[in-house]
């Protein structure tokens, strides 16, 4: 028995060396070996099915088949009207108004959101509580109602005056000019509402930043404001940007509520509103509801696409220094994990 043990050990040792030499010889050839990637038939078949479905849908949009028995393109979509109205002055001005309203409301909303989120981090209770109350109220009531409220502010408070609390006023102004300022009222109403949502988005972004960052900043003698501005916020931006993109795109369409509440304005002698109001004005006089609404939809789709591209570049800017979690990377790691499971 005892004499066998060293023999065993020797044989294992020799087999290990041969295995090693095998590995080295094969690893020398690895570069010349051709790797054949796994090809799944699902990939081609699924693409083919998708292509057919899309082709079928497009066909329904333009088809001139006997079903309708008419010449030209699919008559009920009235494509000729769509192309006729696409660059109509009313729509171009409508798009401009939608863009201005969205941009202004989002600027107010983001600034307010950052302010409110930093208030919630304040060491003073008054700031924390008032920020929380603000979010509670403006997020808890409908935008529509808020728009109506701001639109009727001059009715509710005909004059604004400055003085000591509950006593005689020293100076007062009429609110009439506020009521007629369509843009100002809309921007205030939408911006204040958006501020509540942005506050929560910014707060969520701040929560993600590692607490060690705050400690490192304080240990270097940075005050709260400096640390917030230079250390916390830039890192929080990474998780703030994607939901803010969502909010901006959502705002683009929320601006459609403005005209029904506050009425349309005129620019360069053309009475118009935002994109949606433009569509409404046109189809209520010509009754071509579907094609006119499709023109508005195409404009919204175009503006949203531009915003998505802008969002990509902003995300890339704030992603500097961070290991990117691109979709490709996530997919690859998911695939490796799945492949490794059986072993």
């Amino acid at each position: 028995m005892s004499s066998e043990v060293p023999e065993d050990a020797a044989s294992t040792a020799s087999s290990t060396t041969t295995a090693n030499s095998d590995e080295t010889s094969s690893s020398g050839e690895v570069s010349s070996l051709k790797v054949v990637p796994l090809r799944s038939p699902v990939r081609y078949v699924s693409w083919a099915i998708a292509a057919i479905v899309v082709a079928m849908f497009v066909h329904t949009l333009f088809s001139t088949t006997t079903r309708f028995g008419q010449n030209g393109t699919q008559p009920r979509f009235e494509w000729h009207l769509i192309f006729q109205y696409l660059f109509n002055k009313v729509f171009v001005f409508g798009a401009i108004i939608t863009i201005i309203l969205t941009a202004a409301a989002m600027i107010v909303g983001v600034a307010l959101g950052i302010g409110l989120a930093s208030m919630r981090l304040s060491k003073f209770g008054v700031f924390r509580v008032s920020a929380a109350l603000y979010v509670w109220f403006f997020r808890g009531t409908p935008v529509w109602t808020q728009l109506v409220f701001w639109g009727n502010l001059a009715y509710l408070y005909p004059t604004i005056s400055v003085g000591f609390p509950f006593m005689h006023s020293l100076e007062s102004w009429s609110m009439n000019s506020f009521e007629t300022n369509f843009f100002l009222v809309a921007i205030i109403a939408l911006g204040l509402n958006e501020g509540a949502y942005m506050a929560e988005i910014v707060r969520g972004g701040i929560l993600v930043v590692d607490h060690g960052q705050v400690e490192a900043a304080s240990s270097l003698g940075m005050g709260r404001a400096l640390a917030f501005r230079r250390i916390i916020l830039p890192q929080a931006m990474r998780s703030i940007i994607p939901p803010t993109g969502n909010e901006t795109i959502s705002m683009l369409k929320t601006t459609a509520l403005v005209a029904p509440v506050l009425g349309a304005v005129s620019i360069l002698g053309i009475k118009t509103g935002d994109l949606n109001e433009a569509a409404l004005n046109i189809y209520s006089s010509n009754y071509h509801t579907i094609p006119v609404l499709m023109v508005a939809a195409l404009w919204y789709l175009f503006l949203t696409s531009v915003l998505s591209v802008a969002q990509y570049f902003i995300e890339r800017h704030y992603g500097k220094g961070f290991v990117t979690t691109s979709h490709k990377r996530v997919r690859r790691s998911l695939r490796t994990t799945i492949q490794e499971v059986p072993r």
């Binding site: 590692d210 060690g212 960052q213 400690e215 490192a216 900043a217 304080s218 240990s219 270097l220 003698g221 940075m222 005050g223 709260r224 400096l226 230079r230 250390i231 830039p234 890192q235 704030y318 500097k320 220094g321 961070f322 290991v323």
Partner: protein
């Protein structure tokens, strides 16, 4: 008489809720001295270190840096809480190196180092830049100025963190387990930088598990357990001939 100690702790107490973390710590650190705090995790050594730059408030006793109460001002028999701005000014004079480096990931190495000196100390950017590059050279990372922290190894990140602390020209450097998060082969480079700082006369308080480093570099070693200092003295004595069973047991586990 010799100069007053840079750090002086008298009966420092600290508790988190009901848990008493520090039960009366007495400790003095003279200028230019290297002090090592050793002990098992949960012994309170990191908490005590964080009290020194007021990242944690003490609940009892006195803690003075350069003759001034940390976080408070003494007038007569009362301690008045300092404003955030005053506390920040005191912190700016005390450098701190963290276990997890805590570099700012969105800034380059150079920006990590220059941000606080320019924004907190309001020094000119060209002066700070020159000092930062010299410090990077000193820690052996002159070629990494434009890199982001995520592109560096742990050891390199920790050396940047040391350079960042040094660029504030602190009078005291605190190290909170600076090598605990590093791969074994990267520990040496960081310890070498710390040794050279010690040789240059920097006052340092180091919480560490590196017994070898403590024995070689420290002027005084303290062994803490359950919120009290169990043994202290010259590391050559304390760490070679421990008097208590507790320290003997700890050294047996660590070495």
């Amino acid at each position: 008489m010799s100069a007053p100690p840079l750090v002086e702790a008298r009966q420092v107490h600290k508790h988190f809720g009901r848990l008493e973390v520090l039960k009366g710590i007495n400790l003095t650190v003279a200028r230019g001295e290297v002090t090592c705090l050793l002990g098992p995790s949960g012994s309170g050594k990191s908490t005590f270190l964080r009290c020194i730059n007021h990242l944690e408030k003490i609940d009892g006793g006195e803690l003075l840096v350069d003759g001034q109460h940390v976080g408070y001002q003494r007038k007569g028999n009362k301690l008045y809480e300092l404003s955030d701005a005053r506390i920040s000014r005191h912190r700016a004079e005390i450098g701190m190196v963290f276990q997890r480096f805590n570099l700012f990931p969105h800034l380059t190495v150079l920006e990590n180092i220059t941000l606080a000196p320019t924004k907190v100390l309001n020094q000119g950017s060209s002066v700070v830049m020159a000092r930062a590059l010299a410090l990077l050279d000193r820690v052996g990372l002159a070629d990494k100025a434009g890199s982001y922290p995520s592109q560096l190894s742990g050891g390199q990140q920790q050396r940047v963190a040391i350079a960042r602390a040094l660029c504030m020209e602190p009078k005291l450097l605190l190290f909170d387990e600076p090598t605990s998060a590093l791969d074994p082969e990267l520990v040496g480079d960081v310890l070498d930088v710390m040794k050279s700082l010690a040789n240059d006369g920097m006052t340092m308080i180091v919480v560490t598990h590196e017994i070898g480093f403590a024995r070689e570099v420290a002027d005084t070693a303290y062994f803490m357990d359950h919120g009290v200092i169990v043994e202290s003295g010259k590391p050559q004595d304390v760490l070679v001939n421990p008097r208590t069973d507790r320290l003997r047991e700890f050294l047996g586990q660590v070495l």
